[in-house]
Symmetry: C2
Subunit: 407 residues, 2 copies
């Protein structure tokens, strides 16, 4: 039974976990990341839409504000990340061209107009355009589209490129390719974790970023798995949309997120996403692939000729209220999980929350009211009775890098 | 520049090429097989239906007879192959449970009844049954099926298992993982081949079994690529059909071929097949996957819950008249290509043709009129002007193992 000691142990090596690892390193901490296959969770399936506007649902105004705040942080975050990773500007694929929203039939258009009215209430920019105007922007838009809107504020980034950049930026962290099986507690505080081989990891701070698996490690992070399937297509650039296209087809949402045109004149795009409430099994169902192709070809018929490269199914981590869990939940335990469908969008806000928790600083994001509000809500599912012998309110602002590791 | 010498050089290591290699070894020849990735052509995508009855199209009576003759050879062929490969009986997955044919709508039923009438003319067994009877045989048959038939004579085998067994049976052959780029000729006779590295192969007989690529090596084998896509699904056994189901959905053919139930209670099945006339590129189109799933779920709706394991696109080799090219086409050149959609069905007949060509014998199949007729037609696309200095008619029955190799 070997043991490791560090300042910060990050459980989970997806985009969120590696963001926490990078920020902890920048704050001067020694960092260990535990993940049996980093980046092979929700990160692997994510399309990378940065869409606080079109994702704003009724009754989710707080979520929309959080998303909008994080979107505003993306340009500076991308620049800092690319610099830290030693990558050229633009390497993570941040694109700010806006999004074309489509409604397939009359009922879908009624729904789209309700969403546009909500945008006006929330002060988010969007405008209805005619199907003919939609086709001028994107010639591949199908003949049977009932209505459309232009949403300038919804952007995109490439999640796999973001993950690769984070891995480079956090290269000084020790990556252990094993899964944590439990957190270790002492006197009501989290002091480390245990992996499946019995190896112990002692840390001043544990950042729990294990996605939907977080719930099995800490009951105060009651995340559930919401599996979704995305497809990767490879299309001739002149048959692929140039901007993000999302729409509703007879009530079912679907999107196509195009990447940059490659030197060979082709363009990869991500089509998504289904949403199931079942166990996380990484298995793609025939019916889900059928539904995605049926709906995306209703909006963009020319994608029939695109090459199907991949069908990927991974689980989003959802909290009971669908809002993320970010910040101190117990002494020694910082949460960075529960991002549900918005993990990529909320990555810069997560970085700011980790900075705030660890006492660091990034691009003036700290001190923003949205970040502070998110961080202060992190313990909302923690049950103080479970940790009766601990003071669960005090340590929320303790910069854990001062705690040091114990071997 | 190295060189190899052997009695028989087989160009192509799919099911057909390895069948030729195995038969040549059994006839006492030394054998070299040239293929950069054996079994990764049409073999890799094939579903393994042994369906001379349902594949019998109007005007293809000769083809139906050839297929029926080969189907009759399958049980003895499978037994001999499994024995030669050192595998247990049943290893190649030969199943003789029959096939359920379904018609989705009224027009499809009219078409099915025309096919059943053709069967009566050709003396092939099939009988119309009601949709209720179809559902008694296969509870997963969808509610909207207009008609059905039971076809006892159409069976199946597992093409990848057949290929693995052939590789074991032909293990004494030398496999060179490179592609032939040209045949070598001397005095109007084929005397070997050349690979892309400039290595020469000298052989008494060259068996051309390169599938759709055969045309680029010999103009008298004018095969074209007909790419098709098949899907592999993994279903709970009680939601998968137990026998082969094939049908027509608004004019489009589709089939589902179930393998044996695995110990974990699940069953793999192959769904196919699209048919395109385009270049062979091994790329699966989104529209083809969509069409296969749409049509198979119209007949078997419960397959929506099946896991999509694979989408594979490979090219069938079609001759101008869609009939295979089997036997002597020039001095030293034996063809075994052009099997189109029926490569797996026609494998035992191909073995018999190779036996006949090389002077061997298998299970009394030689001397059958269908085999002899197929072999005698092998040179039908050979242009005697191209080989003006050769006698292209004489060598058809020359047992080439007597020719020996020259280094």
């Amino acid at each position: 039974m070997s043991s490791h000691a560090c300042d910060v142990l990050v459980v989970g090596g997806g985009v969120i976990g590696l963001t926490a690892a990078w920020r902890a390193l920048e704050a001067g901490a020694s960092v260990v990341v535990l993940d049996p296959s980093p980046g092979d969770g929700a990160t692997h399936a994510a399309a990378g839409m940065l869409a606080p506007v079109m994702e704003a649902g009724f009754g989710e105004e707080a979520q929309a504000r959080l998303g909008t705040a994080s979107l505003a942080l993306w340009p500076a975050f991308a620049e800092a990340l690319e610099r830290a990773a030693g990558l050229p500007a633009g390497a993570v694929g941040l694109e700010t061209a806006g999004t074309l929203a489509l409604a397939y039939d009359g009922d879908d258009l009624v729904e789209l107009r309700r969403t546009l009215a909500l945008h006006r209430e929330l002060g988010l920019a969007s405008a209805e355009i005619t199907p003919a105007e939609a086709r001028r922007r994107e010639p591949g838009v199908g003949a049977r589209v009932a209505g459309a809107a232009w949403v300038p504020g919804d952007h995109q980034v490439d999640p796999r490129a973001v993950h690769a950049a984070l891995a480079a930026a956090a290269a000084r962290a020790t990556l252990v390719p094993r899964a944590a099986v439990s957190l270790t507690w002492a006197d009501g505080a989290v002091v480390g974790a245990l992996d499946g081989t019995g190896t112990t990891y002692t840390a001043g701070t544990v950042v729990l970023a294990a996605g939907h698996a977080s719930a099995s490690l800490y009951a105060g992070a009651p995340t559930r798995a919401v599996p979704g399937t995305t497809l990767r297509l490879d299309a001739a650039a002149d048959r692929s949309p140039a901007v993000v296209v999302r729409g509703t087809v007879q009530g079912r949402p679907v999107y196509a997120v195009p990447r940059r045109v490659r030197p060979d004149g082709r363009r990869e795009l991500v089509v998504g996403a289904t949403s199931d409430e079942r166990d996380d099994d990484h298995l793609t169902r025939a019916g889900d692939v059928f539904a995605l192709l049926r709906d995306v070809r209703a909006l963009l018929p020319e994608l029939d000729d695109a090459v199907l490269l991949e069908a990927v199914t991974r689980s989003r981590p959802a909290s009971p209220d669908n809002a993320p869990l970010l910040g101190w939940a117990a002494d020694g335990l910082c949460l960075a999980t529960g991002h549900y469908r918005n993990g990529i969008l909320l990555t810069p806000l997560t970085a700011a929350a980790v900075d705030e928790a660890l006492g660091g600083a990034l691009s003036g994001a700290n001190g923003r009211p949205e970040v502070r509000a998110a961080v202060e809500a992190a313990a909302r599912y923690a049950d103080p009775r479970r940790f009766a012998d601990a003071d669960t309110t005090a340590p929320r602002t303790a910069p854990t890098t001062e705690r040091g590791g114990t071997a």
